[in-house]
Symmetry: C2
Subunit: 350 residues, 2 copies
């Protein structure tokens, strides 16, 4: 977008003012911005030009101007200055990164909560699983004569377990046999490579323990399935209400219910190439997000998985601040995951 220096200055001043106040901004206040020594009449003329370019809008004839989605786009791409996180902010973000977090799911969930609380906007978070996960190893741990623990580990280093109780007894030897059979037959297979036929053959080979094979394998399949299916966690939906554009229920309710509707990852934008992406108003595909903005960042979980974390808010969003916080946090998460599949216990502060 080719604009004169003065037009840029004015556009930026309008947008930043509007971001702060949420009120249409008039020529008078802009004329008062330092470094811009022109009268309000001149500003009015410039504003009319900017409106003709599609960068500003007028809610009604006798109101000031508000930025259009296109205006925000120009602002985000060209005008916005990097926001420098304050010491307090970085401290808060760092604290959040040192939370004791256990399972991957919990980390994702927690990260969403934290970023929502820190930005005062609703947040969503998800991990996009690599879709070709396989089981790498099975372990069966005898607990008593009628119960044992199944432990499976995937090639992405996720470990899951389940305690099983049986109606009948079982010997250590049987369990050993079963264990060997599982590890030779069912490792390295993706979910749809585990066919009913394979199950039948294996059950046959298992002899007495034929019923257990299906028990263990169906648990393994559950695990694989749960890793492929991406679930979105949302947090802080009610923080919408603190922003003036959502003071009216008619505006807030549809968005809120969209965000809390159950959890299909496809409904949320994903960063395409860049690690951070900003989607302004109508740039969003989902209808319910057409007049909101979404800022998403992705981070590396390792083992072929990526995490995505984003916030949703009105198009009048403090893009500079939000992107700064989000990218710092996402980078922190990446670092966190770098050192082992999950932060080891020692990492948490003493």
């Amino acid at each position: 977008m080719d604009l004169t220096e003065r037009k840029k200055k004015i556009l930026r001043a309008i947008i930043e003012n509007y971001i702060q106040t949420a009120e249409p901004v008039g020529s008078k206040v802009i004329a008062a911005t330092p470094g811009l020594n022109v009268s309000s009449a001149t500003i009015r003329n410039e504003m009319a030009d900017l409106e003709a370019l599609g960068l500003l809008e007028q809610p009604h004839t006798s109101a000031g101007r508000i930025p259009s989605p296109g205006g925000y786009r120009v602002y985000v791409n060209e005008l916005m200055e990097d926001y420098r996180l304050s010491v307090q902010e970085t401290r808060k973000l760092n604290e959040a990164l040192h939370l004791k977090m256990r399972e991957l799911d919990q980390v994702i969930d927690q990260a969403g909560r934290v970023i929502s609380q820190l930005t005062q906007y609703p947040a969503f978070a998800l991990a996009s699983g690599s879709s070709r996960v396989t089981i790498q190893r099975f372990d069966l741990l005898m607990v008593s004569s009628d119960s044992f623990i199944i432990v499976v580990m995937t090639d992405t280093n996720v470990v899951r377990n389940r305690l099983v109780r049986l109606p009948s007894d079982l010997s250590e030897a049987q369990l050993q046999l079963l264990n060997t059979l599982l590890n030779t037959t069912f490792t390295g297979l993706t979910l749809d490579e585990i066919t009913p036929e394979l199950m039948r053959v294996a059950s046959h080979a298992a002899g007495e323990a034929y019923g257990l094979i299906s028990l263990v394998v169906s648990f393994a399949m559950d695990v694989l399935e749960s890793l492929e299916q991406r679930r979105v966690h949302t947090a802080g939906i009610t923080s919408l209400l603190s922003h003036p554009e959502y003071r009216s229920l008619d505006r807030a309710a549809p968005l809120m219910s969209y965000l809390s509707e159950d959890q299909d990852a496809a409904r949320f934008p994903m960063p395409q190439g860049d690690p951070m992406e900003i989607l302004i108003g109508p740039e969003n595909v989902a209808d319910a997000l057409k007049d909101t903005s979404v800022v998403v960042a992705s981070y590396d979980i390792g083992d072929g998985m990526r995490g995505v974390i984003g916030v949703v808010g009105p198009t009048r969003m403090d893009y500079a601040k939000i992107t700064a916080r989000l990218s710092y946090f996402a980078a922190g998460l990446s670092r966190l995951f770098e050192q082992g599949s999950l932060p080891p216990a020692e990492e948490t502060e003493k």
Copy 2:
């Protein structure tokens, strides 16, 4: 509360009408209820009596009456008829109970979501852990020369695991030694019986592997801690907005933020003796709940744990319907947990 038959009839009619309409109810509509052949003037006299008894209130002089919290109390205790679940409702509830659920935390969370969706009110769910959990057994599974899996099982039959990577190598024999040491020294101990001293002694006995002891034990402590710390899951907060009393943000926002504030179990009422409890308006201790009602049910998880599930809504709540659904669902959860610490995979429909 000692009331004449006619007063009871009138009170009940008023409350049930108000539950449906959310509008103050006048003497005329009540006079029209079948089986009550008196004029509106008579009703007015009776209403004045009921108001004097503290069972009804008048929002302003020229409006109808609405039930007071005390009125609801009488209704719930004496007047309310059992609501019979329809076939559709039971089918829906049963379906929900057959969901594939994996870990305890997920079951709780899911149960809350389901009951919120089914009742159209916000729901909360939590498991109150028995506070004296101990580790019953440790297993260490060698994955490669520099990584292994820790599996711990508590005396309440909860199994948790973690994958650990090490900077240095480790032999199978060392791991065996470690395993034995852990099982002889750290089983059967509650969180605060695991003292630093004990850790020192054990580290010493572990020889080369002294660093690993603390690694494993601190994981075990994390597990014990996570089981004791009760986290509440809330769901469906936005469904509040569909009820007329929360059409205005001033009323909805404080409650919504109370419900989404982070998750200290103490903030929610717990059933005291009975498996089901109803708390009406000011009967709630929390200020934010002073003009809402809460219905809670508890169910048995087994292994010394109880689950609690409840819904929050306006005092004008369809108590009959809600209690029927909630108790049915809670009973279903109890049954679910009866057969093994978690529903085995075969239970899910094919």
